[in-house]
């Protein structure tokens, strides 16, 4: 074979990292272009009440301890809300309100794309003073939204379009989240990472319950989960899949939580008009739940093939190198199992026009939309300080994601995607801001580099 091993290793990791990078990049661009014109706009937005700052509205003149206290309370309330909604979802799912959940998810996607995306669209138009009449604008927005709803929740749509809309949803929600006040954002991010950890890994955690529940069922459920694009080469594809299964469970759950949260916020914001938040949040949670279930089911379906392969593989690998090798396991697996896999693919192709099975085969690693959102929120928040913190946070988050993926291939169970990345991102943000910036600025403005 001509192709060197360099081309086949890490395909699946890059497949997840690149959309996350694109999402973060666009959010940063959005934050920059929208906030640079009037530095006081965030302050005015802060007055909006959302689920994320129910208790305390941050005021720039407050003292640090006051801010910290308020932010902690905000985060606590928010996380409790999310936990409640998640449990509600578990209940709804347990009693088979699947269709309701699905439709509600469609509606919420419509809502997010239409109203929140629309308002962002409007502010972009205003900022760059693009001449656009209202009818055209409405038509564009309507089409965008409808195609988005169709592509997100139904089959027979090109995977690229689906992925694009997933990234769009992530961008929109993240852009809204960046309007939260600073202290609340940081505390909230940390709180969510901790919640994610608990909910996915603790025995009674709601997400774990959801995953377990979903894995015992075979429902076809829509998912708000980013699916890494199927790779071109067969070995790569297989690798992606086998890794994907593991990752999917893990990150799906986390993503679900995250999504629920983000939607809650959106809903709440929208709720300025006076609705109760609980309905919306519940719906979103359901959506998330659906996603999780979906992924779980895929796992279940695939598991025979994959697990066989994996067992073989693991037995052949010495344990000392296990960690590194695990990364590459998928490939090996692919080679070894090619007959099985081919059959699998064949069957899938036949059914490609249908949902379910095909999707399963085509899917690689899956990352929850919530992870997209909160990674981007962190980077977007960093973008409000300086470009330097953006780069540092980006690197930290991406490396955290890489660590999570590696852990995933080691642990082979659903893992929360947030904690490592958020912890690294927050640490690097403050290190950069407090330590590195004076250093760099001091040396570079004297034109000294090394």
């Amino acid at each position: 074979m001509e192709s060197s091993i360099l081309e086949s290793i890490g395909v699946e990791i890059i497949g997840v990292m690149s959309p996350v990078s694109i999402c973060m990049f666009l959010v940063v661009l959005l934050v920059y272009s929208l906030s640079s014109s009037d530095p006081f706009s965030p302050a005015s937005v802060d007055t909006i009440r959302t689920a994320a700052n129910l208790v305390y509205v941050e005021n720039p003149s407050d003292s640090a301890s006051q801010k910290l206290e308020g932010a902690l309370l905000n985060a606590l309330v928010f996380v409790i809300l999310i936990a409640l909604v998640t449990f509600l979802l578990v209940l709804l799912y347990y009693y088979n309100f699947t269709n309701f959940l699905k439709n509600y998810m469609r509606f919420s996607a419509f809502f997010v794309l239409g109203t929140m995306g629309g308002s962002i669209f409007l502010s972009v138009i205003q900022k760059f003073s693009i001449p656009l009449d209202s009818i055209t604008c409405f038509l564009l927005l309507f089409n965008f939204t409808i195609v988005g709803v169709l592509s997100v929740f139904s089959g027979g749509i090109p995977i690229l379009l689906r992925q694009t809309y997933m990234v769009c949803l992530g961008i929109i929600v993240a852009a809204w989240f960046t309007k939260l006040p600073e202290w609340t954002t940081w505390v909230l991010l940390v709180a969510l990472a901790v919640y994610d950890l608990v909910a996915v890994l603790a025995p009674g955690g709601p997400l774990k319950l959801l995953v377990d529940l979903a894995s015992t069922r075979d429902d076809e459920l829509p998912a708000l989960v980013y699916e890494a694009r199927p790779t071109v080469t067969r070995t790569g594809q297989i690798g992606a899949r086998s890794l994907g299964l593991l990752v999917a469970g893990v990150s799906d759950s986390s993503s679900i939580e995250l999504q629920a949260v983000s939607r809650d916020n959106n809903v709440n914001r929208n709720l300025n008009e006076g609705r109760t938040n609980s309905d919306y949040s519940a719906v979103t949670m359901e959506d998330f739940r659906n996603e999780e279930v979906h992924s779980d089911r895929e796992d279940g379906e695939r598991s025979p093939l994959v697990s066989n392969v994996r067992e073989r593989h693991s037995s052949s690998i010495p344990s000392s190198e296990a960690r590194q090798l695990n990364n590459r396991d998928p490939e090996i697996v692919g080679e070894e199992t090619s007959p099985l896999v081919e059959m699998f693919e064949f069957g899938n192709e036949g059914r490609q026009m249908r949902r379910g099975d095909v999707e399963i085969t085509d899917r690689g690693i899956k990352l929850g939309l919530g992870d997209f959102v909160f990674y981007s929120v962190l980077v977007g928040r960093a973008a409000m300080y300086d470009l330097m913190t953006v780069y540092a946070c980006y690197l930290a988050i991406i490396s955290g994601l890489g660590c999570t993926l590696i852990l995933l291939s080691v642990c082979r169970r659903a893992l929360p995607a947030l904690p490592i990345s958020i912890a690294l991102g927050v640490t690097f943000y403050f290190l950069t801001r407090l330590l590195m910036e004076p250093f760099i600025v001091g040396t570079a403005t004297n034109l000294m580099m090394f």
Binding site: M1, S3, S4, I5, L6, E7, S8, I9, G10, V11, I13, I14, M17, S316, E321, Q324, L325, R328, E331, I332, E335, D386, L387, M388, Y391, A392, L395, A396, I398, S399, G402, F428, L431, T432, L435, M436, P438, F439, I440, V441, G442, T443, A444, T445, N446, L447, M448, M449, F450
Partner: protein, 245 residues
């Protein structure tokens, strides 16, 4: 227009590495991961260094020797990290080879190894350009520009972009030289890299003198071209050796 200027500065500093990235690195996922991890390593080194130097900053003196010590320690630390990077890479190479054997794919070729070294160097270079040039570039997108006292002929942003370009080149290709030197046990190459890095860093001290940049930058570019030339010659020699074997 100002946005155009900002993008222009950014491309001036990072354009060559961007094209290198697109043409060589982006096709191979493993190389992308290498670039990312080496960028992260450089960032960590920068954070550690700034943590150490935080207490002494900002240097108010106009003398050059505190800056000299700063650059000396930084370069020494980063060269130490390069050795570490090499050690990690060695282990990685063994694992990759074992892996390739199991997949019945060819082992790492010489060009593959060089590409990994290139990716590692590119990561260092990109990190340098990003943190020393790009992150200070935000005001350049606005309606004004900024002139440094010491070198008032050229806007500061243009100046830092030009210097960053030289350093990107040095970082990128000195990693290839260093890895080859380590692999071959070639003492000359092993010493060449830290010396080049140190000399390049010290040459930026010339910028402290009023009008020093007119002297310092050409010298810096001389170093960069020397590195490039040395790297090219060495790669050529190894490829020829490899083919004749």
């Amino acid at each position: 227009m100002t946005v155009a200027a900002g993008i222009g500065y950014a491309l001036l500093a990072l354009g060559p590495s961007l094209s290198l990235f697109v043409s060589v690195i982006s096709r191979k996922p493993f190389l992308i991961l290498t670039v990312l991890s080496s960028t992260l390593l450089w960032l960590i080194s920068l954070i550690v260094l700034s943590g150490v130097w935080r207490g002494f900053l900002p240097l108010k003196t106009t003398t050059w020797w505190p800056y000299g010590i700063l650059i000396l320690t930084s370069v020494a630390f980063q060269e130490g990290l390069r050795v570490l990077f090499w050690k990690v890479y060695r282990r990685l190479e063994d694992i990759l080879d074992a892996f390739a054997d199991r997949l019945s794919k060819p082992r790492l070729l010489l060009t593959d190894k060089m590409q990994i070294a290139l990716a590692g160097g590119l990561g260092h270079g990109i990190a340098h350009a990003v943190f020393f040039c790009l992150s200070l570039l935000t005001p350049a997108f606005g309606p004004a520009t900024y002139f440094s006292d010491k070198c008032s002929q050229i806007p500061f942003f243009l100046l830092s972009a030009i210097i960053a370009l030289a350093f990107v080149t040095i970082h990128t290709f000195s990693m290839v030289i260093a890895f080859n030197g380590y692999a071959e046990g070639n003492k000359m190459d092993q010493y060449f890299v830290p010396i080049v890095h140190l000399v390049a860093g010290m040459l930026t001290l010339v910028n402290l003198a009023p009008g020093g940049c007119t002297v310092g930058i050409p010298l810096l570019y001389f170093i960069a071209i020397l590195t490039l030339f040395h790297c090219g010659r060495m790669v050529w020699r190894r490829l020829v050796e490899n083919q004749s074997r």
